[in-house]
């Protein structure tokens, strides 16, 4: 534990920021809806890592409980999101998100 303090908290900040931005890049760059959902999971994980890091550095368990609840919400989101995606695939025969612009006009 004392050894842990050799890693500055800034390193965790930068690592989480980089992972979050890679997630944003994936959401903007990919057209497959399943990969977009995966990139959202990556962004959630970046935030989770930062919460856990601050929780350990401040010796406060609330941050880790928050990570636990984020995992709960992510699991529910993945289940419902993939259900909706399978339904979309059944109707359009594709998971391309650029086909889903019916609300535009």
């Amino acid at each position: 534990m004392e050894e842990l303090r050799t890693i500055p908290i800034e390193y965790y900040l930068y690592l989480s920021t980089v992972l979050f931005c890679i997630g944003v890049l994936g959401v903007l760059m990919r057209r497959n809806a399943i990969v977009v959902l995966m990139c959202v999971e990556l962004m959630l994980n970046a935030v989770n890592l930062l919460l856990a890091a601050f929780s350990t550095y401040l010796s406060d368990a609330q941050g880790q409980i928050m990570v636990f609840f984020i995992m709960v919400v992510a699991a529910a989101e993945a289940a419902v999101g993939l259900g909706i995606l399978v339904m979309i695939y059944r109707n359009t025969k594709s998971t391309d998100i650029s086909l889903l612009d019916k609300l535009r006009n």
């Binding site: 900040l13 920021t17 931005c21 890679i22 999971e41 550095y57 990570v67 993945a78 391309d96």
Partner: protein, 166 residues
């Protein structure tokens, strides 16, 4: 020593995340994302949050990614059916994400001055301590999470039905 482990895990997680975004085959994307999750679980172990590390592997690598992989295999998606955005759009996405990264790192630089904590408790991330906090201070959110799961389960089943008649 700890610093080297941290740096190795950080580099592995960033590289696999980038490979996840850039690989054309969505199945490869899923596998690279699982590697990223294992690296993040290693970070949790390094942070002395063993409970989170185990739950992370079970929930993410074990349940969520298997669900993704299952859907990908069921829909039979591969690199031939993978829709691609135009190069122009990809460059714009890279510029947008890069500006976000620059803005965030610029804002974060030197913003956190965290001295040694007031009371240092190395047992904070263990199951015993977390369970106590979860079932005393966070009992109501825990129950609400249970209701959320029930709603998600019913919703997923209803959405997945073939011809829904209400």
């Amino acid at each position: 020593m700890t610093l080297y482990i941290f740096l190795t895990l950080a580099i592995v997680s960033v590289i696999t995340a980038l490979l996840m975004v850039f690989s054309r085959n969505p199945v490869h994307s899923v596998l690279f994302l699982i590697l990223t999750f294992f690296a993040i679980a290693g970070q949790y172990v390094l942070l002395n949050a063993q409970f989170l590390a185990v739950v992370h592997i079970i929930v993410y690598a074990g349940a969520i990614m298997v669900l993704f992989l299952f859907v990908l295999m069921m829909l039979n998606l591969n690199s031939e059916t993978e829709p691609q955005k135009s190069t122009m759009w990809k460059i714009m996405a890279a510029i947008a994400a890069g500006s976000l990264l620059l803005t965030l790192t610029g804002a974060l630089r030197g913003s956190v001055q965290l001295a040694t904590p007031v009371q240092s408790n190395p047992r904070v991330g263990l199951v015993e301590n977390l369970g106590k906090v979860l079932f005393t201070d966070f009992v109501v959110p825990f129950e609400i999470a249970g209701i959320l799961f029930l709603a998600a389960m019913v919703g997923a089943v209803l959405v997945g039905k073939k011809d829904l008649k209400l």
